[in-house]
Subunit: 354 residues, 2 copies
């Protein structure tokens, strides 16, 4: 077996003395349908094996206008949240015989747009994108061309498109209620990338909960600008250097929490004795940290699985799905990074008591 030059339908056809379409029919399982004789079919299969034939999906894709390929655009595959979603996406896609072309946008709109253009050129049958979130133009273009598109994790207000992610507002609200029940009133919020729906919704939940308790919102406690670890580190450092230190920190992403932890450790502060911490987005290791971290867990696998199903549905029968969002409920996992504290003195009283 194994010629150096790849076998083609034509080379098989010549060997068996039939025509290329016949070979095509047999090898794509249509022998029955075309009532091709058992002998011919067998001979073709044998020849294909002997020559080490591999179908050329470039050619069939060109001809059929279908590549059985999906584009996946995410902001950072090394973020464990995205890694777990990506894994489920790849697995689910594979179960439907679709391949994944992976593009990392590095939280950069320009790169995201480039990825979108590239994937269009590669004629993917559909795209899954977690948008950086600042710009929807290139995504609207995809829709305009009737290329199936599903947004994951982050949605965009100004584009009508199916979406799968978490109910971030509710998750953040629950986290905050937990903090407040434990007596916290001065709670810092270390944000991720602004303008992303996840961030906006989480900050929204943060504010909702504060309002629900009649606590005025202190804008200066809402800090940060990226889902990366550095951001968590720097903002926590800054927070700690204030004269009035918050009693709790709400980290809006797992890497932010990690950065916060690093800053806290450097300052020799202990969680939750010195300061409480709660994080959005659970991680397996959170239970084993010096202080197990209380978090809002998302349904990572479900997000990936549903997104692919939605996308493939849309590919198979365009227009059946309304451009609605699916918001999976996150859930609060209480561990031990939140301390119960005495309700803080009213500022006026505190001022007097000095």
């Amino acid at each position: 077996m194994g010629k150096h030059v790849n076998a083609t339908l034509k080379s098989i056809a010549e060997k068996v003395h039939v025509s290329a379409p016949t070979v095509s029919r047999v090898l794509s399982g249509k022998a029955r349908e075309f009532r091709i004789s058992k002998e011919t079919a067998a001979a073709i299969k044998a020849a294909a094996r002997e020559l080490g034939y591999t179908p050329n999906y470039l050619a069939s894709g060109l001809r059929l206008r279908k590549t059985h390929t999906l584009g996946l655009v995410i902001p950072d595959i090394s973020n464990p949240f995205f890694a777990s979603v990506a894994r489920e996406i790849e697995k689910t896609a594979r179960s439907y015989s679709y391949s994944i072309i992976l593009c990392d946008s590095e939280e950069n709109t320009k790169q995201e747009a480039e990825a979108a253009a590239l994937l269009q050129g590669r004629k993917v049958d559909g795209m899954l994108v977690c948008p950086v979130g600042q710009e929807a133009h290139h995504l609207r273009q995809i829709r305009d061309r009737h290329l199936p598109l599903v947004l994951i994790d982050r949605f965009l207000p100004d584009i009508s498109c199916p979406f799968v992610g978490s109910d971030n507002r509710r998750g953040a609200f629950e986290a905050m209620m937990h903090l407040q029940e434990k007596g916290h009133r001065s709670i810092a919020c270390v944000q991720g990338l602004r303008n992303t729906s996840t961030n906006r919704e989480r900050v929204g939940g943060y504010c909702d909960a504060l309002k629900a308790q009649g606590v005025p919102i202190d804008e200066s406690l809402i800090v940060g600008s990226s889902f990366g670890e550095e951001n968590g580190y720097i903002e926590t450092k800054l927070l700690l250097s204030r004269t009035e230190r918050p009693t709790a920190i709400f980290a809006l992403g797992n890497l932010i929490a990690l950065g916060a932890l690093r800053a806290l450790a450097e300052s020799n502060l202990h969680v939750p004795e010195d300061i409480s911490l709660i994080s959005f987005d659970d991680q397996r290791y959170f239970s084993f940290l010096a202080t197990p971290v209380t978090t809002i867990a998302q349904q990572n696998e479900e997000i990936g699985r549903i997104a692919v199903k939605l996308l493939i549905d849309e590919i198979r029968s365009p227009g059946v799905h309304t451009a609605e969002g699916i918001f999976l409920p996150p859930r609060l996992i209480i561990r031990s990074s939140v301390a119960r504290i005495d309700p803080p003195l009213h500022p006026v009283i505190r001022a007097l008591s000095v």
Copy 2:
């Protein structure tokens, strides 16, 4: 702008009243070379923009026999080690204008072989694979067909192929020497997937170090069979239930360490007071665990970067690289999960002292 049906060279050609090849030449930057008139070139570019032209890479790939696509096959993209390598691979590939088709083999040889076949059909220009490790047949086939291939993280003895990974034997040796310097003699080794080179080399380093200290190897202390968390958990449970408990555990992967930690926590055992732990493969969060874990860190990003460079070199000029392996030195990061212990009593003496 934006017709529903995608623009092609032909449609542009018709619009500008030139031929398709001329359009092709202009849009692929060969206007100078073919000395195409400024006006024609400008008109073509304008028309392309107006029609929203995107090149069809399927067609050019078919014609050119080059797709500018690389296949990446890894055992588990959600394992943070692979996720970080994958990220670097995608970034580096992108910097050379290559796309990545991602396949997760789920540590399964059959799926790996399927991925390899699929990628061949998709006509990738080269492949990066981290082999499950039990079987090399499908990989040898790739080489036979002169499809550039680079192995990452795990190599295979019976295939001659460029490789980039860590010097696992040396890493494991250093971890063990550290343990032994601290007085440990009864050290359990929780393995990953057997027959993978990483596992074999790490176990090799484990044994080397024991021999170097004249400690006989107790086969019953070498347990486990997967790089997953469950394996770490179960094997640690089992280890703890022994009458003679080892004084230290060497986890051969980051998820194994996580599983071990879970088992230890369940048994209310503290690291390192009750038992010491050392892990292969560092993770950012290791510093913040209840007990910061001492580890052997690999150069994840370097592995990804070098692998892609090697592969692209091989694609551009086949045969320039010898099928040698690049083994990057890992390094020991001492944190606090290893306790100094008194040298254990000699078994006979211990027996007498009861």
